[in-house]
């Protein structure tokens, strides 16, 4: 009898009121909602897919490729990276060139002609990236969108002002 009474005296029972239960329930639901929102925003779970895009580099001087040649300057299969070479933005698939067009005045008229010492380059690049609604197409967390301009390292060439002119999702 004595030991039973002792146990009753020493035991600490946690009593929760209905207000405590409501508060606990609200706190749990807020945590669940926050967790759901965080998981929804996570990109890591997104599958990668093939992205093909074309970079246009205008007015590349012929002196740049005189030594290495076109194939040496832009070897097919070589990496394209960001300006500081930290982000992998795919591999060169094809290179096309077109003479840079220049305008001059002749007999009070505008005349278009090919520039002799410069070329416009169209470099097709293929890489793997993630595509998410609202967040666009990203390769190594860099957004690839037609009309976007920036600096790239394309093969052995540093393009200071290259423009993305076309983006295709998938193969």
């Amino acid at each position: 009898m004595k030991t039973e009474r002792k146990r009753k005296k020493g035991a600490v029972r946690l009593r929760l009121s209905w207000v405590d239960w409501v508060l606990l329930l609200l706190a749990v639901s807020v945590f669940c909602l926050a967790g759901y929102l965080i998981l929804q925003r996570r990109d890591a779970a997104l599958p990668t897919e093939t992205v093909q895009y074309t970079l246009c580099v205008s007015g590349v001087r012929k002196q740049f490729y005189e030594e290495l040649g076109w194939d040496g300057l832009f070897p097919v299969g070589m990496a394209v990276t960001s300006a500081n070479a930290t982000a992998d933005l795919g591999r060169i698939v094809a290179v096309e060139k077109r003479p840079t067009r220049v305008c001059s005045v002749l007999n009070a008229k505008l005349i278009w002609a090919d520039a002799l010492d410069r070329e416009d380059l169209f470099i097709t690049v293929k890489g793997r990236g993630v595509c998410k609604s609202g967040d666009g197409i990203r390769l190594s967390d860099i957004r690839i969108a037609a009309g976007e301009r920036g600096s790239f390292r394309i093969g052995n060439y540093y393009a200071e002002q290259a423009t993305v002119i076309s983006v295709i999702r998938g193969d």
Binding site: S17, W18, C131, A146, V167, R169
Partner: protein, 169 residues
């Protein structure tokens, strides 16, 4: 008897518990109201459809092929801004000066063109000023950067107008 009464009082909770409960509910209610306030521009008027015409100057003609009619456009933060109605190509003007005289022409269409982008968005008008989503002010001449899935729309606002009311079928 006395012990039972004490136990019942414990189960009913204290005034402090009630204070915390109401504080918690007020915080949640306040957050919802603030969110609504931002969305609906302080509740001053309903949102209706507006049309924006913007100009992208001197772009490669291929850029226009990456825009699809009816696709959503987003801000840099990934929030939906509106819908692209369509994009049309127009020639890019060029002016050259020779011997003190200016000559005007157009860029070759295969090399460079201007793009007129027609967008639809929800907004409202207060004191003659148009607000996108009731919160972001828009003016003619203002530069904007929006993104569709495959293209970046760097443009200057040319025209802002209210869309005509659409009758439902």
């Amino acid at each position: 008897m006395r012990a039972n009464r004490v136990e019942r009082n414990d189960r009913n909770g204290s005034v402090l518990d009630l204070f915390f409960l109401f504080l918690f509910l007020f915080v949640i209610l306040g957050t919802i109201l603030r969110w609504q306030n931002l969305r609906m521009s302080g509740g001053s008027g309903e949102l209706s459809s507006y049309r924006l015409v913007g100009i992208m100057e001197g772009v490669d003609p291929l850029v226009g092929d990456c825009m699809e009619e009816g696709e959503s456009v987003y801000t840099t933060d990934g929030e939906k801004w509106g819908t692209l109605i369509f994009a049309e190509r127009i020639p890019t003007p060029i002016v050259l000066t020779a011997n003190g005289a200016s000559y005007q022409g157009e860029w070759e269409e295969t090399v460079r063109c201007d793009l007129l982008v027609h967008l639809e968005f929800l907004g409202n008008e207060r004191d003659g000023t148009i607000f996108q989503n009731g919160t972001h002010v828009l003016s003619v001449g203002q530069p904007l950067l929006l993104y569709s899935e495959r293209s970046a729309l760097h443009f200057n606002v040319l025209k802002l107008e209210q869309m005509p009311y659409k009758m439902e079928d």
